[in-house]
Symmetry: C2
Subunit: 322 residues, 2 copies
């Protein structure tokens, strides 16, 4: 268990919230929902908060591909955001700069309070919220609220604060960054069941923000999370070609325990490759289509519990108390 | 039931057989298997037949997309195959001409005897063989053999000889054209279970050819098939944008009966759209990723039975008899 001792502090109201669809143009639940809300935003309207639906990578959406030149959801590095304008900048770097201008600047007081970034995966991950930090009480209380509200359905929480595997996401522009990742859904397809899971998680998330802004106090909470531990590549031959498949015993078993000695790959030559770690892990993003090019068959995670520092209340409520 | 009265005639031995993977570059079972067999073809070797594995659209395979300029599996029209060489011919038209040169010419005595074209679908179709004619005794006996050999697993047979919906496939170059379509599998992903289904169907198909070439006689047979009947588009608003999803009651129900009055689409405005046909149909290719651009949410099929004309035997066997 990781105990985070932080001083209780009041947070500002989350008054500017954005919902990004199409950070990857072929992940269709987010694209579909954001397009709907751009036409009619009643469903995402909440008291005391401005909610902005936004297509993050319109050219990729138009061509129904993940990206045009490079992965937008890896593009929000300091280097990219500061790159001087020129003709041959990759489209997604230019787009990252635009997004940073509209919703950021990243890391500044002017940045949006919250960005929800809607993603789909071909992996059997169900509804998942991805956090980028263990230190964000607001997000922690939000996912705790979502998990309670959505029960008996579940919403897993994946924390990627890995020093190497963490990447510069589109949502990282905001003060509070949340990825919503729902699967399994093939690229380029909208499935009603998957869309509904995403819609429900987001509904509860917006409800939470409304309640928080309205002055509700949230008692200290503990959240079960999976923390990214290790990236595992497909087995490869000496030329770098993939030489085996995700083992049928592992396929679709996102979030289930994987013990040392259990199968992970079925090799083309008939052998079985076993997991050689020294303790139980919880794989996820198993056999995600977009991660072949990133040389990742799955990531392992470890279970952890995160505690909010104390109760969560916003600055106005604190002032009222004093 | 369609009864096909054709004269019993001996067929030539099927001595030249090709297996195409990557007609669509992101349908990974075929790409993976063909790549394996190009390195080591022991598994597809059979007595009395030359079996050629072949990557049909190498540039699409390289970029893991369906196609580069246009759909190769629609490109084998007379017009395309006769188009004069020029710089700005779409890549797939040039590739179709190359394939026609190597494995055809289409419609000629010089064409390959059999082409198996390996495809994946995001639809829940299981293992399926697609035929383009009801009049091909050789193919009919082959699928009958596959169905018997693969039991208790099933292998559906889809016949697309629809005057409008039939298209000019890659495999149509051969005398006997067979598509193998296995799903569900997302584009860009290899699933072990799906790959194994494809591998098994093909194994039995090649076994059949070996037996046929070896002189085995096949008694008259009857095969249950689904014949393509109608293409159904997604519902659209006045601007042509999709205004609803495949209904959860229909999603994943490929080959199951759909009766008039049953739900087919869940509209974004909350309404349910019902099937308005006048009799029971059997939908398939439900919510296939690649067919959004073709304005097709699913095709309806009707059940039929095809009969082979008489027993199947090849010319040498007939001569031996006479």
């Amino acid at each position: 268990m990781t105990s985070c001792h932080r001083g209780a502090k009041g947070l500002s109201r989350a008054e500017r919230v954005a919902i990004f669809g199409g950070s990857h143009g072929n992940e269709m639940s987010g694209v579909t929902l954001v397009k709907l809300w751009l036409e009619n935003g009643v469903e995402i309207r909440r008291r005391g908060v401005e909610v902005t639906p936004f297509i993050a990578n319109p050219r990729a959406v138009e061509t129904c591909t993940r990206y045009i030149d490079s992965d937008l959801n890896r593009a929000f590095t300091t280097e990219n955001l500061r790159a001087p304008h020129c003709e041959d900048l990759p489209y997604e770097v230019r787009r990252a700069q635009e997004i940073n201008q509209i919703f950021g600047p990243k890391g500044s007081q002017d940045a949006y309070d919250v960005i929800f970034d809607l993603h789909n995966t071909t992996s059997n991950m169900g509804g998942t919220v991805i956090l980028e930090s263990t230190q964000d009480d607001f997000n922690l209380q939000m996912v705790h609220y979502i998990q309670s509200a959505i029960a008996p359905a579940s919403c897993s929480v994946l924390v990627n604060d890995h020093p190497v595997l963490k990447y510069a996401t589109t949502r990282s522009v905001a003060k509070h960054a949340l990825g919503l990742e729902v699967g399994p859904q093939p690229q380029g397809v909208v499935r009603g069941d998957i869309l509904e899971i995403m819609r429900k998680i987001l509904k509860h998330a917006l409800d939470f923000i409304e309640l928080f802004n309205g002055g509700m106090e949230f008692p200290p909470c503990t959240v079960d999370v999976y923390r990214v531990s290790e990236r595992v590549d497909y087995p490869r031959d000496e030329c770098g070609n993939i030489s085996g498949l995700v083992h049928p015993d592992l396929q679709d078993r996102d979030w289930e325990p994987l013990n040392p000695g259990e199968p992970i790959f079925q090799m083309f030559d008939g052998r079985t490759m076993l997991y050689e770690g020294d303790s139980t892990v919880y794989p996820t993003f198993i056999n995600e289509a977009a991660y072949y090019e990133k040389r990742q068959a799955f990531v392992t995670t470890r279970k952890d519990q995160l505690e909010s520092s104390k109760e969560l209340l916003h600055q106005t409520s604190i002032n009222r108390r004093l």
